[in-house]
């Protein structure tokens, strides 16, 4: 064991930092930094994907033959970290990090040729249509059906919590193609165009004023049979692959690092009774704990990236990352809220343009609480904290 950071990675980091600084338009960076809510900046996200694509870096984690950069897991880690630190827009996760890997691993040549370029070029936004009103933690019980009639599937059912569906062009859906077998074996993975007749999207008003989450109603939607990925009945396997593929990103480590920096900015900017929040011993203790916990999480991420050998299955470590990562997102966003004190209670409408700052209301105020509210979801999506603990108990202890 030799744990010092590889010096070559430091120069790689410098190269990436310079690159982002050169190509990220300042107005996009500024809007990302000050936006009030998520939905507000979709056009910037798409523009950014196109910029990255022009530089061959829109999907660095894909295999080289599909447009990847051939970087090591550590290099990809550093790239992501620098993107977040620079306030770059998010990837279109559904396309680049979820569907993409499923397609290049299991999709036919035809589907790969048709869809991978769209994703890579940032031409499309993708919705993940897995969860249903009655099928959340128990995803395998999903009921949305797809019946093969001639060369088309006829899809009927309802999805919920489909993030961003209202602005997505395409979606990948888990559908039931066989009701006669064990639930997991009757599920298929289907690509659906969101403007197909019979698809209705409703935005869900959220706890934080945003409407990013959606319901998707599918009423006799006709989908070309060729848009089923891989084999019918294999959808569950592909979905599990998808969720496991992005093991380390579920830690949200890069995001949390940036948000902790932002919490520090607030603590240095806010004072109460002539004392900066940053000089309050109680806040200093919380910051110290958050920073230490984040370091621990980072090392855990690195261990998973390096496939460190342990005597428990690697998936157990993935649950560690998900559990701690989600808890830390919540603690760090609440640290921002608490550092703002009562000011955090002001409600801001969703807007791409931040309200003009003033002495009492610096530009770090709008949007913080909205993010802290939706961060409650971190312990819910992608396998709730309780479900993660069930998994961990099984993997680590055989319980």
């Amino acid at each position: 064991m030799e744990l010092r950071l590889d010096p070559e990675l430091e120069s790689f980091r410098q190269e990436i930092r310079t690159f982002i600084n050169d190509v990220l338009p300042p107005e996009i960076k500024e809007r990302q930094r000050t936006k009030v809510l998520n939905n507000a900046t979709v056009p910037d996200q798409n523009e950014w994907m196109r910029i990255l694509y022009r530089h061959g870096r829109s999907v660095p984690h894909w295999p080289v033959e599909f447009g990847g950069c051939g970087w090591s897991p550590m290099q990809i880690f550093i790239f992501s970290e620098e993107l977040y630190a620079a306030d770059a827009p998010e990837f279109d996760w559904g396309g680049t990090h979820m569907l993409g890997p499923v397609l290049y691993t299991y999709g036919s040549d035809e589907l790969q040729d048709r869809f991978l370029p769209m994703i890579r070029e940032g031409a499309t936004n993708w919705a993940q249509g897995f969860s249903e009103p009655g099928s959340g933690s128990d995803l395998a019980s999903l009921r949305t059906s797809a019946e093969l009639v001639g060369d088309k599937y006829i899809v009927n059912g309802q999805k919920i919590w489909t993030s961003g569906a209202s602005h997505c062009d395409w979606g990948f859906f888990l559908v039931r193609t066989d009701k006669t077998v064990k639930p997991q074996l009757g599920i298929s993975f289907l690509i659906v165009k969101m403007d197909s007749p019979g698809v209705t999207v409703r935005q869900i008003p959220q706890i934080n004023g945003d409407t990013h989450l959606c319901e998707v109603f599918l009423d006799n939607v006709e989908v070309p049979a060729g848009q089923l990925i891989g084999e019918p009945g294999m959808g569950w396997t592909y979905a599990k692959f998808l969720l496991e593929h992005e093991r380390t990103t579920s830690s949200f480590i890069y995001w949390s690092k940036r948000e902790l920096d932002r919490a520090k900015e607030i603590a240095r900017g806010e004072s109460r009774g002539g004392r900066r929040v940053a000089d309050d011993p109680a806040f200093r203790a919380r910051f110290a704990r958050a920073e230490a916990d984040l370091l621990a999480l980072e090392w855990s991420v690195l261990r998973v990236l390096a496939h460190e050998e342990t005597d428990t299955p690697e998936a157990a470590a993935a649950s560690v990352l998900k559990i701690r990562g989600s808890e830390l997102q919540q603690e760090i966003t609440m640290l921002q809220v608490d550092a703002l004190g009562e000011k955090a209670l002001r409600f801001y409408e969703a807007s791409p343009v931040a309200p003009p700052p003033s002495e009492a209301w610096p530009d770090y105020v709008p949007g913080r609480t909205a993010v802290a509210l939706i961060a409650r979801a971190a312990t819910i999506y992608g396998g709730t904290k309780q479900v993660q603990k069930n998994i961990l108990a099984k993997l680590a202890f055989g319980l």
């Binding site: 969860s131 009655g134 099928s135 959340g136 933690s137 128990d138 019980s141 919920i160 919590w161 869900i204 008003p205 959220q206 706890i207 004023g209 989450l213 806010e270 004072s271 109460r272 009774g273 002539g274 309050d280 109680a282 806040f283 919540q330 809220v337 608490d338 004190g341 009562e342 000011k343 955090a344 209670l345 002001r346 409600f347 002495e359 009492a360 609480t369 509210l373 939706i374 409650r376 979801a377 312990t379 819910i380 999506y381 709730t384 904290k385 309780q386 603990k389 069930n390």
Partner: protein, 375 residues
């Protein structure tokens, strides 16, 4: 000490149950969020008819001379129903300041109007960067001029100010010790109110005062006494807000209890999972302890300032921690539904977050109580 409710208290809670449970709920709250003032004038009028606005107001001013316990019980009900009316600002906070300055002729009249439901008053005290708990961070000035005063300065986060006809404004009187509390019409020349909603759909405002010329009798209370009166009033408001938090928590626990018995996953109700049962048990413990500490604060409400403040901060700590535990777990057991604006639990979350931060947040109360514990 008597834990049983008096006849008046029982009547109060019956009336609260009737009015509030009929008129509350997610649809109502969402409507209020979009409404101009964040609450419905018709319900405020009903509050007056039921005598709620007269509750702590002294009989001489047309009130019911109710106790702080009466006020707390009513506020538990208001908290259960997530009422957004400016009850605490007008009746508890302004009501107490006016009562303490009853020597001034205008004060008795104002109390009568509060009781009748025709006058709403908000406190404009907090300034940017001031310590919200010590209450002495006042930079705003009042200069004596022509037998009256001229006010200059700015306030932020004045709770319920957008719906108030009058403001009680704190300012340093030039050349004098302490602060003065002034009664200022919110539409007065030189007063600029910038209103905004808070997370729980109540409203607050930043207020700029530029050369606001007032008559001498606008000064309700001055000198070193003013800060003491302000602290008493804020402590009573804090008790009322704690009562609302207790009501909100108890309601949230019930809502979660029902939800986990309805929601099914893996073919069974999620309430059959031990993980969920333990979360609910934790929530129950927290809410129980929260009510206990409300009682502790009430028992010490009339004690001298230091003792009252210590009891209050101790209660704010337990209730603040409990609010976080209940509201966070409340969302967790709801899964995705907890993140929507269409389920009640998210509304409780936001209210509890607000109540935790008014008049000193958890950090401030921890520090203050820590100081008295280790003194």
């Amino acid at each position: 000490m008597d834990f049983a409710k008096s006849d008046i208290q029982t009547m109060l809670l019956d009336s609260a149950e009737r009015l509030l449970s009929d008129s509350s709920g997610v649809e109502y709250w969402r409507e209020q969020h979009r409404s101009p003032l964040g609450f419905a004038e018709v319900r405020w009028a009903q509050f007056a008819e039921l005598g709620w606005l007269a509750l702590p107001v002294p009989e001489e001013a047309g009130g019911l001379s109710g106790t702080i316990e009466d006020v707390a019980l009513l506020n538990i009900a208001l908290g259960q129903a997530l009422a957004t009316e400016p009850y605490v600002s007008t009746v508890v906070l302004a009501g107490h300041i006016l009562e303490q300055s009853a020597g001034e002729a205008g004060a008795m009249e104002a109390l009568g109007s509060i009781a009748a439901g025709t006058l709403r008053i908000a406190l404009a005290h907090q300034e940017n960067g001031a310590d919200p708990l010590s209450l002495d961070g006042v930079a705003m000035t009042a200069r004596a001029r022509g037998g009256g005063f001229v006010l200059d300065g700015g306030k932020i986060m004045a709770l319920d100010a957008p719906s108030a006809n009058q403001l009680i404004v704190s300012a340093r009187i030039e050349g004098e010790e302490g602060i003065g509390l002034f009664l200022v019409p919110s539409g007065h020349d030189g007063v600029a109110v910038t209103a905004y909603p808070l997370l729980d759909s109540t409203r607050a405002a930043d207020i700029a005062f530029n050369g606001v010329a007032l008559p001498a009798d606008a000064l309700l209370v001055g000198g070193n006494h003013a800060l003491a009166v302000l602290r008493e009033a804020v402590d009573r408001a804090s008790i009322a807000f704690m009562a609302q938090a207790v009501g909100a928590m108890e309601a949230a626990v019930k809502i979660c209890g029902s939800y986990v018995q309805e929601r099914k996953q893996f073919g069974v109700v999620i309430g059959s999972f031990q993980a969920i049962q333990h979360i609910l048990a934790d929530m129950f413990v927290a809410a129980h302890q929260a009510r206990s500490m409300l009682y502790h604060a009430l028992a010490n409400a009339d004690q001298p300032e230091a003792r009252r403040a210590a009891a209050l901060s101790a209660a704010r700590i337990v209730i603040g921690d409990a609010s976080q535990l209940v509201s966070r777990n409340g969302i967790q057991v709801h899964g995705g539904y907890g993140l929507t604006d269409e389920y009640a639990i998210g509304h409780y979350f936001r209210r509890l977050m607000c109540l935790e931060k008014h008049f000193g947040d958890l950090a401030a109360h921890l520090e203050r109580f820590g100081g008295s514990v280790l003194a």
